[in-house]
Amino acid sequence: MRYRLIAVAASCLSAVLTAGVLRPRYGGMLRVETSATGEIGATRFAGQIYETLVRCDSHGEMKPWLATGWIHNASVGKWIFSARKNVVLPHETLWNPGEDTLTVPDTKPLDQILVEAGLGDKVVVESGPFRILNQHVGESVQLGANESYWGGRPFLDFVEIHMGRTRRDQLLDFELGKADVVEAEITDIKALKQANVVLQVSKPLETVALVFEKQTSSLTRQAVALSVDRLAMQRVMLDKQGEVSGALLPQWISGYAFLFSTAHDVSRAKALAPAGSTLLLCEDDRDKVLRSLADRIAVDVSQAGINVRLATSGCEARLIRLPISSVNPQQALLALASKLQIAAPEWASPYAMESDLLRDGRVVPLFHLPIVYALKPNVRNWSVPCNLADVWLEETR
């Protein structure tokens, strides 16, 4: 009996303590570092400031966001979106879009209209859960909580985002306590885990690809694609993280990535490679993983008789990371086309659109990599894709 009482008391105490720890807390400033550069609107944090009529959910479905719904008016041949009522803009004015903003001709399929609306081609409103308080473009942005956010005030008071930081510097700042959330290399996962660092590893949300300049010969592109041993790189250099792929979109988003070849055939590459051909390959020398991958690609491609020289300018090919900005395949493909500055494919099925993008061999996808964040233990509810509005900081004891 006495033991039962003790057990009940312990359970109650535990429940009380747990409830106290896990309850979200308002306030605090989150310090985030990222390697992304440029305007904040072009990074993964754009959605925390800017909003569109619709937004893609975690299953790739386009869901109402600033628009609460849409109906088709067959008499006028338009789709009409209904605007959310309580959207507050900076300077505390209410969002009051005109008719033009909310009507779209029905000349395109609804899926395409929704995807394009989600890309923010037509309507982008600065009405997100955070507002820009201070910005040094490419260096840092200070965000403050939008007290009037239609979805409710975010937990954090402030978010400070430092941009253009190499992952090595980010890790250093993290260890020195200068940052709460930093990006980590996938090759550091093992070491960070051993150091008991809290890690958030996403599904593959980044594509590593070789992008050729227009003037490179088609045979060279093919020879390079065939000579690269993706599997060896993924197993050894990427520590089995990510996925080997010949597709732009990862398997978990598209479901057809395995259809694109990742064949490694040096003898065929040798046969295709023009005699005495050379390739000037550029890599981001600030990115350790890309740099080592480029070194390995140079070794692999040289087996096909192509002399690869690594450089930082005058490139004939570049090894780059392509962020997957949406889990909607078509929206992600359109965003990639825009990022690669190549013609957007005709609206079709995702496979057809991707095949169209990869047809000329200018883009050779190699891997799909997850995004890894190292978090301070007090950072709660961090998710990828990030949603800063749900993040809160546990009070440190």
């Binding site: 197993r235 050894v236 250099m237 520590d239 089995k240 080592s292 070194d295 070794v299 087996q303």
Partner: protein
């Protein structure tokens, strides 16, 4: 070239040659000494290089052994034996081991040499190790090799390998500037290590080789040892080989600066010694030649005087040597010549007096006979009566006067010859002079049926001459021609202008002269005629001679005679040598 000049040249050449030979000999000896010393220094450095290779090789081998016995490699060997080994775990192992053991290059491979982990080229995993010649070597034995690098170049290195289970561990240290620095360099010695066309270094760091060095290296890659001088350094190129493969070339250079400085000093000293010797030789030669050539020059001057007609010339050379004897002989010779000349002149003078006496007697005897006859006739007429005497007296007086006149003429001719005055020069037209002379004897020429022809190439030709003497000379030649052509003929004057003279030829068509007559023709008082004085042509020769001219006769029996006179156009021209 004078004897003095020759002697000076010979003495200078002798001195210069001797100094050159001595200087050359000293230079060659000095060079040989330096070359021997350089060769010894190079040899010592090569030995040091080999020792350093051994030392460094032992260090590399020890480091590889340390790495092979490390826990990390043991773990790798165990992992590699798993059915599905985690290759990712090997990725940085070689780098860790290399850092721990101080090896610059480290490859961990399987038995088949497939790289599992590489320290210097991590991304090369999965490919075969291609360090040259490593397989032929034994464990714990360092070897030279060339290691490919990510930038496409190669590095020459000292390597060693060890086996650990199923793994092979290959470690190496680069032979670079640091190695060369460890080698150390003596003053004046420079060591270069050539590894590849774009890679060469010394103790100071990378070195860009000039074309001369490149050629030396190319040659060294084919031969065991090559030595060559490049700039102010002598280089020995030794290929570095391992199992027959050449991995690089060691270039050991020694500075030739000291040798060059010494050679320059020797040359400078040689030059000054030669210059001093030549100067001394010149002075001594001058003195010697002065002693030798002064009596010779004296003799030469005496000989020139003799040649000029001064037979009494004497040379004044101190007796006592061969030159003195020669001078004495010369003086005796000239004295004898003078004596003989005097005797000849005396004989000639006697002969001339005899000839003069004979001629005078002959000339005077002819008129004496009529005088004697006339006087005897006048005596006989006186004896016969006054009337006959009167008749005879008149005729006899006339004859006497004629003969007295004849005497006067004869005496006048002799007087003229003896009183030949010096010529009074003035510009004389040669054509006019001939015309005047011919005009004087025109009647006699006509009387003797002699035709006169004149061929004057330049009528306006004038010369410096005494017109009276010239006319007299030409007149004598005309008279001589009249006498030579008693039965008539032709007399031709031809005048030709030469560069500095004028040639006058007087040609008759008489019976000509014999050789003996021709040779004596201009001798005074010599004549081939019955009534001649033998002074006509002597006077002609005298006039021509006074005008600095020449006269010759060309003749033969029955071919007539041609007197050729050459007179200078101006007397200044005649004075020219």
């Amino acid at each position: 070239m004078t004897f003095r000049t020759k002697l000076l040249i010979v003495s200078s050449l002798t001195v210069a040659g001797a100094v050159t030979i001595v200087t050359g000999g000293v230079l060659v000896a000095a060079r040989q000494v330096f070359e021997r010393v350089d060769a010894e220094r190079q040899e010592a450095l090569l030995e040091q290089f080999k020792r350093e290779i051994k030392t460094q090789g032992a260090a590399v081998s020890a480091a590889v052994v340390r790495a092979a016995s490390s826990t990390l490699l043991t773990r790798m060997a165990a992992e590699a034996n798993q059915p599905e080994p985690d290759f990712a775990s090997f990725y940085t192992d070689a780098q860790v081991l290399a850092e721990n053991t101080g090896l610059e290059f480290l490859d961990i491979t399987r038995k088949d040499l497939m790289v599992l982990s590489s320290a210097h080229w991590p991304v090369r995993f999965g490919y075969k190790n291609d360090w040259r010649s490593c397989i032929e070597c034994k464990p714990n034995q360092a070897f030279l090799t060339k290691i490919p690098l990510p930038d496409g170049t190669t590095a020459m290195a000292l390597a060693a390998f060890q086996r650990q289970g199923d793994l092979i561990l290959l470690g190496a240290k680069r032979l670079d500037a640091a190695f060369m620095k460890a080698l150390g360099e003596a003053p004046g010695v420079r060591t270069l290590l050539w590894v590849g066309p774009q890679e060469c270094f010394s103790a100071g760091g990378p070195v860009a080789l000039s074309a001369e060095f490149q050629n030396l290296v190319v040659e060294a890659l084919r031969k065991p040892v090559v030595s060559r001088r490049i700039g102010n350094e002598a280089y020995l190129a030794v290929p570095l080989q391992q199992n027959g493969a050449v991995f690089g070339v060691l270039l050991v250079g020694t500075s030739l600066q000291q040798q060059i400085t010494l050679e320059r000093s020797i040359l400078k000293i040689g030059f000054w010694v030669a210059a001093g010797g030549i100067l001394l030789g010149v002075l001594l030669g001058w003195w010697a030649t002065e002693r030798v050539t002064r009596p010779v020059n004296e003799l030469a001057r005496g000989a020139r005087d003799v040649a000029a007609g001064n037979w009494s010339a004497k040379v004044n050379v101190p007796a006592g040597d061969e030159m003195g004897e020669l001078a004495d002989a010369f003086n005796r010779m000239t004295a004898e010549l003078v004596e003989r000349q005097n005797r000849a002149l005396q004989a000639e003078r006697v002969a001339a007096w005899r000839e003069l006496a004979r001629r005078l007697a002959h000339e005077l005897k002819n008129p004496l006979f009529p005088l004697q006859i006339t006087i005897e006739n006048m005596q006989r007429a006186r004896a016969a009566g006054a009337q006959e005497f009167d008749e005879t007296f008149q005729e006899g007086a006339r004859t006497l006067l004629d003969e007295v006149r004849n005497f006067k003429t004869i005496i006048g001719r002799f007087s003229d010859f003896s009183r030949m005055p010096p010529p009074q020069f003035e510009r004389v037209n040669i054509g006019d002079a001939i015309s005047d002379a011919v005009r004087l004897y025109e009647a006699q020429l006509s009387l003797n049926d002699i035709r006169v022809h004149a061929q004057v190439s330049c009528a306006a030709l004038t010369i410096d001459a005494d017109p009276d003497q010239l006319r007299r000379a030409l007149g004598n030649l005309i008279l001589n021609a009249i006498d030579a052509m008693p039965n008539g003929g032709s007399l031709t004057f031809s005048v030709v202008g030469l560069e500095h003279a004028v040639r006058i030829a007087v040609t008759d068509t008489g019976q000509g002269l014999t050789e003996e007559e021709g040779s004596r023709l201009f001798t005074p008082y010599y004549t081939t005629k019955q009534h001649g004085t033998g002074l006509g042509l002597a006077i002609v020769q005298g006039v021509v001679s006074d005008h600095q001219g020449t006269i010759i006769v060309e003749s033969g029996t029955g071919r007539g005679a041609t007197f050729i006179i050459e007179l200078p156009i101006t007397q200044r021209a005649a004075e020219r040598p």
